[in-house]
Every structure is written in C-alpha cells, then in structure tokens.
C-alpha cells in the first residue's frame, strides 16, 4: 500500500461546472411575483440554468492562486473538459487534469454527475497507473488546499437545492436578484448561501456562504465575464475570500473552447488514463 493515492485524493473534487452557466438574452417569461418568494427564487435558478442549454462541450485550463493570511502564495494549474448531458434529468460529465504543482502532474479525475443519486467519480494515479473509484461523499472538505470546497465545484444542478427570493438590489452597474439557496444533498458544509444573480444576463455576480452554524464563512465574487458563440457566458475570474481564516483563492480561467468534438468516449476510464 502506498500513500500516494490518498495524497491525490485530497486534490480530488467533483467538478462538472463551476462557472455560472447563464445566457445572454434577457428573460422573456415573467417571474412569479414577490409575494411568492420560493417560486420566484426557483424560477430565477431555472432561468439561469436553462440559458446554458446546448453548450454541448467545453475545454479550458484554469490557474488557482492560493494566498494565506501572511500573503504567502502558492499556485495550481488544471485542465477541464465538460460534456453536457442531453438528458435534463441527469448531470454533466467532466474530466479534470492536474498539471501543477508538478508532483501531482498527470493526476486526473472523472466525474459523472447525477441529481438525486450520488455522483460517480474515478481518479487516475499516474505513479501507479491505477484508476481508482472514489467516494463522492466528500462535499465540504477543501479542494487542493484552497478556500473552495468540493461542493463549490460540483455540478450545480437546480434540483440539488431549495430556493427563496429575498429582494432585488443594485449590484455595481446592474440590478441583482438576491436569492437564498439551501442544499438538499447530504454532507454539505453550508446551511445556506445568498446568491446575487443579475437581472440582465442572469449570471451569478456574488455568492455569500454561511457555515453549518449559520455563521458568515466566505464570499465569492465573479468577474471578467466573456460571451461565447453569442450565447454562453463564462466568468474568467473567481475570487473567494474566507472571512474566518483570512485566506483567499483566485481562479483565473483561460479562454474556453466550445463544441470541440468531445464525446462520451472522452469521459470514460480508458480516456481518464490518457488524459493530459
């Protein structure tokens, strides 16, 4: 037995789509009224989600910059492939490939996300050339030592949460729907999150996280949005600040490539071994 599979396990996370998957066109259908906050909150989430329909697949790379309270910095680099699940009642498939730090280079993780059933996840450990099926229970633990938890990366399917609209308020130059979201899945590290979704393009601008004791934990800010294929928005800068530890993590995303020809065959255990 070696220790290595676990060292890489800690770098594992369920990522299907961290990025807010929202559409450019303004909302057409009317939202339920402010006198129905639950229905209005759910409608906002559905609208955001529906606007990403048809993205098919994407490929991109991401740089992760970790800064502790003393200002010490460490960096990671990862590649991401995502395949849209044509079945709306099931989750997307994703492949994550670790490039830096160099000691974890070649480690890769495959996720088949689901909505009500647990996600299926496999990890490839290059030193042993071993594919290991791993537990997807780890939701609240830190991802690669960062301020992002596994569940922050997990497929953000609408059905995994309950919603409640709180208010509309100004957010920068835009107006945002402010919605409270509570996880319906087990093992979450949060009682609730407060998300700010703009009323123009229905993109996430900010998320505030409250821990299991309902105390303020961290804030995530999305910026540098770009539009692809005239339809699909992607944020290229995500800044997470932990208010308890004073640590921060910044994710900087490279350009996305859409509709690159990826198929289901690129998201199985055989392709996991070849990932690079």
């Amino acid at each position: 037995m070696t220790i290595f599979f676990q060292t890489t396990r800690q770098t594992a996370l369920a990522l299907a789509a961290l990025t807010p998957l929202l559409l450019a066109t303004p909302a057409q259908a009317e939202l339920p009224g402010t006198d129905q906050p639950e229905a209005r909150g759910l409608a906002i989430a559905k609208k955001s989600d529906a606007m990403n329909l048809g993205f098919t697949n994407t490929q991109t790379d991401m740089e992760m910059i970790l800064t502790n309270a003393n200002g010490d910095v460490s960096e990671r680099r990862l590649g991401f492939n995502t395949l849209e699940n044509k079945n709306p009642d099931d989750g997307d498939w994703s492949m994550m490939i670790f490039n830096e730090p160099a000691d974890v280079a070649g480690t890769a993780m495959l996720t088949h996300a689901h909505i009500l059933d647990p996600d299926e996840q496999w990890m490839f450990l290059p030193a042993l050339k071993r594919v290991k099926r791993i537990s997807s229970v780890n939701k609240s633990g830190p991802f690669m030592g960062s301020e992002f938890a596994f569940e922050d990366f997990s497929s953000q399917e609408v059905g995994k949460f309950s919603y409640k609209w709180l208010r509309d308020e100004a957010c920068g130059e835009l107006t945002c729907h402010v919605t409270e979201r509570r996880p319906l899945y087990k093992h979450s590290g949060y009682t609730r999150t407060i998300s700010y979704t703009d009323t123009t393009d229905y993109q996430l601008r900010k998320v505030v996280y409250y821990d299991r004791k309902n105390a303020l934990l961290k804030t995530l800010i999305f910026s540098d949005y770009q539009i692809y294929l005239d339809k699909y928005w992607r944020a290229h800068n995500l800044y997470m600040e932990n208010h308890v530890t004073k640590k921060t993590t910044t994710l900087r995303w490279d350009e996305y490539e859409f509709q690159t020809g990826l198929t289901q065959a690129d998201f199985n255990q055989d392709s996991l071994k070849r990932a690079r």
Partner: protein
C-alpha cells in the same frame, strides 16, 4: 510539467518549414530524487551496509499528434546507489507508441498495466514484473514489452495483451545490499519452465466494467510467473557465507476477479484468483526435488472508510482494513496466507498536501506483526519530502519469513524535485 508546441522546434531541427501534418504537442516532465536509507541493525553478511545514499531520476517525454490519434511516450528511470550495485539500475518504465481509432486503442512497446482494487496486497495484478530492488512494498514495476489492443464498448472494455519478453526479478547486491533475508540470489542462474526462457509467448485478457456502485474486473493470464520459486543450490556465497539460491520461473495459468462497491464513505473491495503452476516440493526444495502441479485459490478483501472534513477541520481520516487468504494458509509460499492488514490515513488537505499513513500487518497463524509509517509533504512549489519506516514488531516462533525480516527494519528519507 512543461508543455510546448513542438512545431517551431521541429522546423528548426529539420531546417524546413514543417507542414501542418507534422504538427504535434510535446510534454516533458519528471523528477530528481535524493534518498537516504538507514538499517539500524547489522546485516547478516560481514560486508552489509547500514547506511545507503542514492540518487534517482525519472523523466517522461510525450509526443502527441494534434488529432490525438498518435502518441509516442518515453519514460526512462535510473538510480545510482552508492553501495548496492544491483540497485543501481535503469529501466524503460514506458517506451511505447499508441494509436487510437474509434473504440480501439493499440499500444506497441513497453508499458505498465495495473489491475485490481485492494491496497495491501495486489492479487490479480500480474502484467508487470515487480521492481524488487526499488522498494519493499512491491509497488514499483518494470516496464513490460507488449502488444495491447483495447476495445471499449458501452458494456465495458476488453483488453488483450501479447507479452513477448519476460523481465526477471532483480535482487539486491549479494555482498552489500539490504534488505537481505539470510540468503543471496544470483539472477544470472535463473531457470525457466518455458523452453523459450525470456523470449515468451505470454498472453493476458482483461474485462473491466462499471455498473452503478460496482466496478468489476475479470482477468486471465497464461505465461511465465512473475514470482519465482527460490531453490536451494547447496552452494554458499564466497563473500559472506550465506546460502545461494536460484530463481525458478514456472509456467502459470491464473484467472482473477476484482470488485469494488462504492457506497457513500465506504469502499468495499474484493480480489480473488485461481492459479495453476508446477512447483518443486519440500521445505528446502532443490532442482532435484519432485515436481507437482499446484492449484491455489487466493483472496483478499475488506473496506476503506473515510471521515471527510473531520470536525470541520478540513482534514480527512481514513481507515483501511483488509484480510488476506490463501487456501494453503501457513504452507503458502508467501507471507499472506492468513493475515490482516490495517491502515490509518491522515490527510491534512493543506496547501502543502501533508499526509501520513500508518499501517500494520498481523499474521493470524504465526502471530507475527509488522508496522509501517509513510509521511509526505510538499516543500515550496516543486519539492517533496517523503519519509518511510518499516519495522518487524513481533516474530512468531515458527515464522521464518518474519525472523528473516526482523533484522531488516529500515528508515528511508527522500527529497524529490519535480519539473
């Protein structure tokens, strides 16, 4: 990992403007590692060392066509050990050409294949010879020359292997090397049941599929056993008086199954194998001993349970417990006839990826037990320190293997630079 577009490099090398068809990506990465090993107890031979320093390196060069269809991967490994000339060795861990077409994947050349699910004992894993001088845990493997064809379907992946050359197991330097279990093996005297020696016609077949919470593998192998039977020669080493043994590689047929069920925080695992091979019989078998055909059923299995984000600390604590069984029990020609392995794993999930693994073996027949510790931590962005220690805790009365192991406790410290 450094990654570059090779096109300009190729063009410069060839002195031409390379056509697009030649365009490819190149990956180059690797590590250099310094190692110190300390054996607290004196060795059985007069000239056996207690302290060893060593340096090793492994690099990987990958050339990939833009279409993704063609790949050439070279992964040489080399080690220099100051005292142990057998441990100073080189190996091509991988040297292969890979071609993808639809559901087919063809591999030509040296490669490494891992089969199985368990942690303490890898029962069904058989394609590669163990790199026996590299580490004592059996996880290091020699590159195996092969022709491999994999066919991937919705109902699982079939893989066929033709293995035309055999890699013999290396043993530590008979004069200085550690660990030494009270004998020396001269691998120049290795014998093979198959008349063709190292030029073999071994083959293997593997089926792998995932159904819901289950990951299932079936495997078959026909060829020269990777694990030799060590035979007494009657000779002793002129250097240190230890008995000289020779390795006999029998022809082996093995079928195996490996299953994992992933249920929340629980991973349930099982590997089982059935093998048939000829063995020389008797406690101190020689080439003159009678040969008999031996059928053996073996199994190992258990669970792995992880407490994730314990007390909201961000750390994980995992427990692994596995049982190892051989129908021959105490008569089995290895140490895992009726044993339990238990491991505790602590993962800090910090920026430096600190992790500690404590492991223990207990033989239910002889009551022998051993302990191991592995700890590692990244230093800065590119270095990693790894500490390993193994100790024989209790030695059962009739347990010759544990007795031999008792003098070979060791501590191993490694500092690796990755690029």
């Amino acid at each position: 990992m450094s990654r570059a577009r090779l096109l300009p490099v190729l063009a410069a090398l060839l002195g031409v403007s390379a056509p697009t068809a030649w365009a490819m990506d190149i990956d180059f990465d690797g590590n250099v590692e310094l190692e110190a090993r300390h054996y607290p107890k004196l060795g059985r031979g007069d000239d056996m060392e207690q302290d060893f320093t060593s340096i090793s390196s492994e690099v990987e060069l990958g050339l990939y066509s833009r279409s993704g269809r063609h790949a050439i991967i070279l992964k040489p490994f080399g080690r220099y050990d100051e005292h142990d000339h057998e441990r100073s060795h080189m190996d091509l861990r991988e040297a292969k050409y890979r071609y993808l077409r639809g559901p087919f994947e063809l591999t030509l050349g040296a490669d490494k294949e891992f089969w199985g699910v368990t942690e303490f004992l890898h029962l069904v894993d058989i394609v590669n010879q163990t790199d026996n001088v590299e580490s004592t845990d059996g996880e290091a493997k020699l590159g195996q020359p092969m022709v491999k064809l994999a066919y991937s379907t919705r109902f699982g992946t079939w893989t066929g292997y033709s293995l035309p050359f055999f890699r013999i197991r290396q043993y530590v330097d008979p004069i200085t090397g550690r660990p030494n279990y009270g004998f020396v093996v001269d691998d120049n005297t290795s014998l093979f049941e198959s008349g063709e020696g190292r030029r073999t016609e071994d083959y293997a077949l593997r089926y792998k599929h995932s159904i819901g919470v289950f990951d299932i593998g079936l495997s078959g192998f026909k060829g020269t056993s990777r694990e030799p039977q060590l035979l007494a020669t009657g000779d002793v080493s002129a250097n240190n008086g230890l008995p000289k043994l020779q390795a006999y590689y029998a022809y082996l047929t093995q079928t195996g199954i490996d299953v994992q069920a992933t249920l929340g925080s629980w991973l349930w695992k099982l590997e089982a194998s059935q093998s048939t091979q000829n063995r020389f019989t008797g406690a101190l078998a020689t080439l003159a001993s009678p040969v008999e055909e031996v059928d053996a059923a073996r199994a190992t299995g258990g669970f792995e349970y992880t407490f994730y984000n314990l007390f909201n600390s961000g750390t994980d604590v995992g427990l692994v417990a596995e049982y190892m069984w051989d129908e021959r029990e105490a008569d089995a020609p290895h140490a895992f006839g009726n044993d339990i392995g238990i491991g505790f794993r602590w993962t800090a999930n910090d920026t430096q990826s600190t992790a500690v693994l404590l492991g223990g073996f207990h033989d239910l027949d002889t009551k022998s037990s051993g302990l191991s510790l592995e700890a590692e931590r990244r230093l800065g962005q590119s270095y990693k320190a790894i500490l390993e220690a193994r100790f024989q805790d209790k030695v059962g009365d009739a347990d010759t293997l544990a007795q031999a192991n008792a003098d070979e406790d060791f501590i191993r410290l490694r500092l690796a630079y990755f690029f």
